[in-house]
Subunit: 317 residues, 2 copies
C-alpha cells in the first residue's frame, strides 16, 4: 500500500492549490441551530469551483505532477464531480484530461466536463467496460490516472477544506462528513487530528450504501454492492488508503435513512437559501436522527457539493 | 405627501438596525461574469433574516417608534415577505404584530408569520376586504400601520443594503434593482446618489407588471392592474413617496420577459448554488436581454430574496 498522507502533505497542498481554489465561506443558520439544538458551522464546498470539494484533491494532484508527467495529460473514469474537477484542474495547468464516461450519462454531467475542456471517452456503463476504456486511453496517450479518492495527493487536497474550517472556527466538538470512497473523510480526519485533537470526526453514510459503516465495524473493507441511495456521491466503496486513515483517525461512522436525507436537504435549501446535493445533506441528517454521541455544542459540517438536477428534485413528485 | 427620506435617514437606519440584521455577503461568480460579459457583484439579501431585504425596512420602522407607539403593536396587510419581516421585527422589540392575510394564502406564508410570533387576522382575498380587516384591527388595537414600501422609515431601511454593497464594492457603474412598490429601488437610489454619484441605478421590471416602467415614462403613477408575472414580489404599484424618489434619482427602468426571468433564476441556482426567488432574478434577466445601456463593466445586483415554493419551481413541469 502507498504511504499514508501526512498533515504536512495537507499543508503542502494548501500552498499548491490556494491560488486556484475558492476559500469557501463558513455559514451559520440560527433556525437550523434551533432545530437541532446545537451550534452549526457549515463549510460551504457547494460554492467551491465545479460545485464540490473534489476540485481541491484534483487540483493538488494535477499540480503535484512533474512537467513531463502533466505533458501526457491526466485520465479518470467518473461521471460525477471528480470528472469535472479533474477536467478543470488540468485546464488550469494547460494540460489534457481524458474522462471515461458511460454513454448514458446525463447531459448535464457531460456538459460540465466539456465546459472545462475535458475530452470525453464514451464507454458502456458496466464497471468492466469503464476500466477497459480507461486502460486503453492510458495505453494510447500515456496519461496519468488520477483516482477519485484512493490517492495520497487527492486525500491531502481534500484535507484542506477541514483545515480552513478549523482555522476559522476553532474548538469544534465534532466535524461531520459524508462518506463515499472516503477521500473527504480521511483528509478531514488528518487535518482535525493535527489541528484540533479533541475534535472528533464522525462520518455519516446512507443506510442504503452502508459499506463504510460495515467496514468500520468489522475492520476490513466490505465493498459497496448494489447501493441504493439518492446520495449519488456516496455509492462507492472505500479504498485501502482511505480505509487505513479512517481506522486510525475517525471516531465513528453512523447511518441515516433516505427520508431523513431528503428532509435535511430541504431544510438546508429552505433555511439557508443555498443549493446542496443530497450527499451534502447526509451529515445534517445524522444530527436530525440523533445518531451522534458525546459533547456536541459546536458542530462543523462539510457541505460537500451543490450539483443537483434542478428538474428532478426529491420533493417534487 | 410625507417628507422624502434623506441619506441621513439611511445612516440613522444603519445604527438602528445593525445589531438585528445580517450584514449579507457580496458574492461573485466567474461563470455568470462570462455569460453576461461583465463583472457582477451580488448583494445577497436572500440570506437576510426572513429571507428578504424587507426585514431591513420593517426593522427600521419598528425601532423608530416611541415606546408608547410600539406598546400598541404594529399592523399590516400582506401575504409576502413584508408580513414575515414585520412579525420578526416586532418580536425583536417584544411587541405585537397583527398581519392581515387572505384565508387562501399558502400554508408556508402563514407558517412564516406564525413562526415569528405574528398574529394573523384572516380576511377574504379582495383588496377591499383586506383594507377593511386592517382598519378594524387598527381601530380595535390601536396598532401602528406599517406600509410595505410607501413609508420614509421603510425606504431608509431598505437603503442600507445598497450602502453596504457600495462600502464593500466601490466604483460600480450601475446597480440593478427589481421594482415592485419601489421601496428597495428608492432606498438604493438615495444611498447610491450620496455614496457614489456616478453609479447609475437602473430598475428592472417584469413586462407583465410594467406599471413602474410606464409611470417612469409618463411622469405620473400608473397603477398595476392585473399584473401577470411569476415575480410575485413585483406585482404592486408604486407609492407617491417611492415614485418621487425614483423620478429624482433613478436613471432608467427597463422590462424583461417571463422566460428570461426563469432563465436568470435558474442560472443563479445552478451557477451560484444559491436559492433566489423569481423577483430577485429580474435584474440579471435585464442583463441577459441587453436592456441596460452605458458603461457597465462593474455591475451591482441586489438579490432581493430567497423565499420560493420548492415544490413548485418554474422549470419542473
Amino acid at each position: 500500500m502507498e504511504k499514508l498522507p501526512s498533515f504536512q502533505d495537507v499543508l503542502d497542498a494548501v500552498k499548491r492549490i490556494e491560488s486556484f481554489i475558492h476559500r469557501t465561506p463558513v455559514l451559520t443558520c440560527e433556525s437550523l441551530n434551533r432545530i437541532v439544538g446545537t451550534q452549526l458551522f457549515f463549510k460551504c464546498e457547494n460554492f467551491q469551483k465545479v460545485g464540490a470539494f473534489k476540485f481541491r484533491g484534483a487540483c493538488n494532484t494535477v499540480f503535484s505532477l512533474t512537467p513531463t508527467e502533466i505533458g501526457r495529460g491526466v485520465a479518470t473514469h467518473s461521471s460525477g464531480n471528480h470528472a469535472a474537477a479533474l477536467a478543470l484542474a488540468a485546464q488550469k495547468r494547460q494540460a489534457k484530461a481524458f474522462i471515461v464516461m458511460p454513454k448514458n450519462s446525463p447531459a448535464v454531467k457531460k456538459d460540465a466536463v466539456s465546459e472545462y475542456g475535458g475530452e470525453i471517452v464514451y464507454c458502456e456503463s458496466t464497471l468492466t467496460a469503464r476500466e477497459q476504456a480507461l486502460n486503453q486511453v492510458i495505453k494510447k496517450t500515456g496519461a496519468i490516472f488520477v483516482h477519485p479518492y484512493n490517492d495520497a495527493r487527492v486525500i491531502a487536497g481534500q484535507g484542506t477544506a477541514a483545515l480552513e474550517l478549523l482555522e476559522e472556527v476553532p474548538q469544534l466538538d465534532i466535524i461531520l462528513v459524508p462518506v463515499g470512497g472516503g477521500g473527504l473523510l480521511s483528509g478531514t480526519a488528518i487535518s482535525a487530528a493535527h489541528l484540533s485533537p479533541t475534535t472528533r470526526v464522525i462520518a455519516v453514510e446512507p443506510a442504503g450504501a452502508a459499506d463504510a459503516f460495515r467496514s468500520f465495524q468489522t475492520g476490513k473493507i466490505i465493498p459497496s454492492i448494489q447501493p441504493e441511495t439518492i446520495a449519488d456521491g456516496l455509492r462507492t466503496s472505500l479504498g485501502e488508503l482511505t480505509f487505513a486513515i479512517i481506522q486510525k483517525y475517525v471516531s465513528d461512522i453512523v447511518t441515516v435513512s433516505e427520508a431523513t436525507i431528503v428532509k435535511a436537504m430541504r431544510l438546508v435549501w429552505e433555511r439557508m437559501k443555498i443549493v446542496v446535493e443530497p450527499s451534502a445533506a447526509v451529515p445534517l441528517a445524522g444530527l436530525l436522527e440523533n445518531k451522534t454521541n458525546g459533547p456536541q455544542s459546536r458542530v462543523g459540517i462539510i457541505l460537500s457539493g451543490g450539483n443537483v438536477d434542478l428538474e428532478n428534485l426529491p420533493w417534487s413528485n
